[in-house]
């Protein structure tokens, strides 16, 4: 137990340590505040255009929680239909099984293990660290979503669910493109876009395998739905002869009517668009006589801790449709950005999901603390996940065992003391006196929680 406590103490400082670093980075803070403000205000605007936004949210929440509660049967239905269409399903319990399956598919593809792999945006692929595995097997993986491409060049992880390079400004992007091309790329947006377009077009044409995520699988039709704004997802899923889609196992709806509700909310909540520029509904591989589409279509269904979460008090977190709205309104995320969470998912949903999906990861355990429980996330979530209550539940479940000894004993003694009438009386009197002599108090505490207050804030005055 002692060692857990020590690790805990070390990691408890690490969010703070990383946050301090981020807080000193003015460029990052500017970029994050500007982009989240923009995404957030567009979301509000797009939802206000709907006459029935509240009903739609109720419907979406109901659809998602019904899907989560009958996940097994929906997945079976989808898988039967998908297989009948000629697709191949791979069930992966964890990251190793998922990356193993995908590496085998790449190795067996016409281009072999050294294939150029054009990859669209997929958070599930981040969960399994796919790029590293494929690269070490010899593949040349290139991210084709603009944001993902930028952070791939920077050697970083996504800092936002839908806008992975949100923390970078255009000057930093110009530097990355210049280094990549060996020629000067200016910080003019159109020039940056032109460079990326040219570079990525080559990748699409060379690619032997395309890899994408999945926004929703549709059980009744066996389809997978992929939404995006750049057309790169469509390229990845139609140009190469092999297409592999990776899907978190909870991302399923029963039929097209349910998909309609979800699509109506997803883009509005994510970017404030009524619909994304490209909405791909892929129903099986290329059929005879069709001009394009992959000959081989695979879907890797990733469990990755989800089954365990299904049967816990946190199952509502599996309703998440990865819109990023909760990040955009989170006041903590706003100050420090996504990398500080050191987890694939950041912001409120990251602070909930990471400790649930990775219960044994000590660095995930401190994430539920990274919230003032203001509830802005819950209010923004299109599928009504009670995010701040889940954060609180995580604290309630885990703090009594995993908090530092000081904290445990502190609360125990505090509560014992305050359950005695005499102590309550004395502390009332002391509070009154204490508030009147803050000048003395100000000098006293320099460590621990009082010190943390005192370092940057004055003590309260008497009222």
């Amino acid at each position: 137990m002692a060692s857990t406590t020590a690790t805990e103490a070390a990691t408890l400082n690490s969010f703070n340590t990383r946050a301090r670093q981020a807080l000193r980075d003015e460029r990052l803070r500017d970029a994050v505040a500007r982009s989240t403000d923009l995404l957030g205000s567009r979301r509000v605007e797009a939802l206000s255009e709907l006459a029935n936004a509240d009903e739609l949210r109720d419907a979406a929440a109901a659809i998602r929680s019904a899907s989560v509660s009958r996940l097994r049967s929906l997945l079976d239905e989808w898988s039967d239909n998908f297989t009948a269409l000629g697709g191949t399903v791979h069930w992966a319990r964890d990251a190793a099984e998922a990356t193993g399956a995908i590496a085998e598919i790449v190795a067996a593809s016409p281009a072999g293990p050294g294939a150029v792999v054009a990859k669209g945006k997929s958070m599930a692929s981040e969960e399994i660290h796919l790029n590293e595995v494929l690269a070490s097997a010899g593949a040349d993986v290139i991210e084709t979503d603009l944001g993902e491409f930028i952070i791939q060049l920077a050697g970083e992880a996504p800092s936002h669910i839908i806008a992975p390079a949100l923390h970078k400004d255009r000057f930093q992007i110009a530097d990355l493109f210049t280094a990549d091309s060996g020629q000067a790329v200016s910080a003019e947006i159109h020039e940056e876009a032109a460079y990326a377009r040219d570079r990525l077009r080559r990748a699409f044409l060379d690619a032997g395998v395309g890899i994408t995520g999945v926004n929703f699988a549709v059980a009744s039709t066996g389809s997978i739905c992929l939404v995006e704004n750049e057309g790169n997802g469509r390229m990845c899923s139609s140009l190469p002869s092999v297409h592999v889609a990776i899907m978190g196992m909870e991302r399923i709806v029963a039929d097209l009517a349910e998909l309609d509700v979800m699509l109506n909310l997803l883009a509005r909540s994510a970017t404030g668009q009524a619909l994304t520029v490209y909405t791909n509904l892929i129903t099986g591989p290329r059929r005879d006589g069709e001009a394009d589409g992959p000959e081989n279509l695979h879907v890797v269904v990733l469990d990755g801790g989800r089954s365990a979460a299904l049967h816990s008090q946190y199952s509502s977190a599996l309703s998440c449709i990865r819109c990023g709205a909760c990040l955009n309104v989170c006041p903590v995320y706003r100050q420090v950005g996504g990398h500080v969470y050191e987890s694939v998912y950041s912001g409120p949903i990251g602070a909930v999901l990471t400790p649930i999906l990775r219960p044994d990861d000590p660095s995930a355990r401190e994430l539920p603390e990274a919230s003032s429980l203001c509830g802005a996330c819950t209010e923004a979530c299109p599928v009504q996940i009670p995010l701040h209550d889940l954060l609180l539940k995580l604290r309630l479940e885990r703090a009594p065992e995993s908090a530092t000894a000081t904290r445990r004993w502190g609360f125990r003694l505090w509560s014992l003391a305050w359950s005695l009438p005499l102590v309550r009386h004395i502390s009332r009197v002391l509070t009154r006196l204490g508030l009147r002599c803050t000048r003395v108090l100000r000098r006293l505490p320099s460590r621990g929680w009082p010190g943390a207050w005192n370092k940057c804030r004055d003590l309260p005055r008497a009222r």
């Binding site: 603390e369 359950s419 370092k455 309260p460």
Partner: protein, 236 residues
């Protein structure tokens, strides 16, 4: 108390009420929270069977939303549910006692002189506490109550964003908490108002502490102290 009397009520002080247990509960220590909250629960239910008015948004939210959960499965479960139903945040309570007029959109222009007694000419800027805003839906009530007190008020930009207090969050993650306070203070100050009003004392202590350290010329008042100016005719 003054505020409630001004609104035409006859309040009774709950002698033994002390702490609602929120600091421990939000840190994940339910048992300890229960231990501290129990005497308060007892005192409230012993004091009266009427409404229990709480002059702090977050304590009110704790008592009305989380107490039933906190005491679930204990001998106090039923008592906690009853008290939760009766618990009202101060401005919500006061505004429910006023004639039901819709609030005008802030900033309000000329009402100060008409309602008596006019407290001051300068408008105040409202800080919406998160628990009151989202948990209790108190934003409109706070404004109605303030308007009735004859005080003009202004809504700051970013009014729905948290000030960074969050109970022990303010000391567990002090740097992020202070960064949030700084942004909030800048937004409040940008209105040109000198007085910040909120229905949550803990937000005010945090903001005031930070403003003091930064040397900002802002004053902080609990909504209760302004509500004392509600005219005698304002209550139903």
């Amino acid at each position: 108390m003054q505020a409630l009397r001004a609104a035409g009520c006859e309040p009774k002080d709950v002698g033994g009420a002390f702490c609602c247990g929120q600091p421990a509960y939000n840190s994940g220590f339910a048992k300890e929270a229960r231990r501290v909250a129990k005497p308060t629960l007892r005192a409230v239910s012993k004091a009266s069977s009427g409404d229990c008015v709480v002059a702090s948004g977050s304590c009110a939210a704790m008592m009305s939303h989380y107490w039933p959960e906190l005491f679930a499965g204990t001998p106090q479960a039923a008592e906690a549910r009853r008290v939760a139903e009766r618990t009202k945040e101060l401005t919500v309570y006061v505004s429910s006692r006023l004639e039901s007029e819709p609030v005008n959109d802030a900033p309000q222009a000329e009402s100060a002189a008409e309602v008596h007694p006019p407290l001051a000419e300068e408008p105040v800027v409202i800080h919406d506490a998160c628990h009151a805003l989202r948990g209790l839906g108190a934003a409109e009530a706070t404004r109605r109550a303030l308007a009735a007190s004859g005080r003009r008020y202004v809504n700051p930009p970013g009014s729905e964003r948290c000030c960074g207090f969050g109970g022990l969050f303010s000391v567990k993650m002090p740097d992020v908490s202070v960064a949030m306070a700084d942004e909030k203070l800048d937004l409040l100050a940008s209105t040109g108002c000198e007085t910040v009003v909120s229905c949550d004392l803990s937000c005010l202590v945090h903001l005031e502490g930070r403003a003091g350290r930064r040397g900002l010329a802002l004053r902080f008042e609990h909504a209760a102290s302004l509500l004392e100016g509600i005219g005698p005719g304002a209550g139903k």
